[in-house]
Amino acid sequence: MRIDLTSEPRLLQILRGVVRCRALEAGVPEPEAERLALAVSEAAANVIRHTYGGREDARLALEIRTFPDRLEFVLEDWGPKVCLDQIRHRPLDDVRPGGLGTYFMNCFMDDCSYDPDFAEGNRLRMIKYRQREVAH
């Protein structure tokens, strides 16, 4: 499934609702669905704030793909390319406001990477592998 939104912060809540719902539907347990929603929401918030500089009339799109072994969340925007070396969260012991969004994304996803083939903007692919049942 795919959802297209304008870059309005008020719509982040809807995005989270969709991620949460889809993850639960796919059998992800509740607390983890919540963490996935947070990670995707942080990624989208960064697009709104950094890629689009707070503009509310730009577009972003999230595609959620479920596989037997993983969930993929692909977030697209049509803004200027991100500068990869600028994406860095603050050191945790340097307590100041901000600088935690990408840290949470990395905590809650197993892999976050930009697709170099998406010419029109940025395509961030976030992957979460499913917990395997422990054999016993």
Partner: protein, 119 residues
Amino acid sequence: MKVQVRNVEDVAIIDCSGDVDLYSSPRLREALLGQIRGGAKSVLVNMGEVGYIDSSGIATLVEGLQLSRTTKTRFGLYSLRSNARSVLELARLHKVFNLFETEQEALEKIGSVQPFGGL
């Protein structure tokens, strides 16, 4: 998100409910910094009804903490739900804030917390 302020003796309590995110955190920020600047001796944020908080919400709380150190205001949070608590722990901020379990505990203890002088 809803934000409301009430006063219990010389403590300003900010009752916050719903999702604290990029969209709503500016309103929490306004209330929080406003109370600290307004000269309240102690400021508490009631997180009991906050089901979701993102990095911008946490940034707002950190900003409140910093300002409270400058103004020597006592500042704390209470009734954190598990989501909010685990996000704070992940960011290693749970020891930076004064955290209380309940409103009662917060009101009893906030007066004896050391207000920091500067950062």
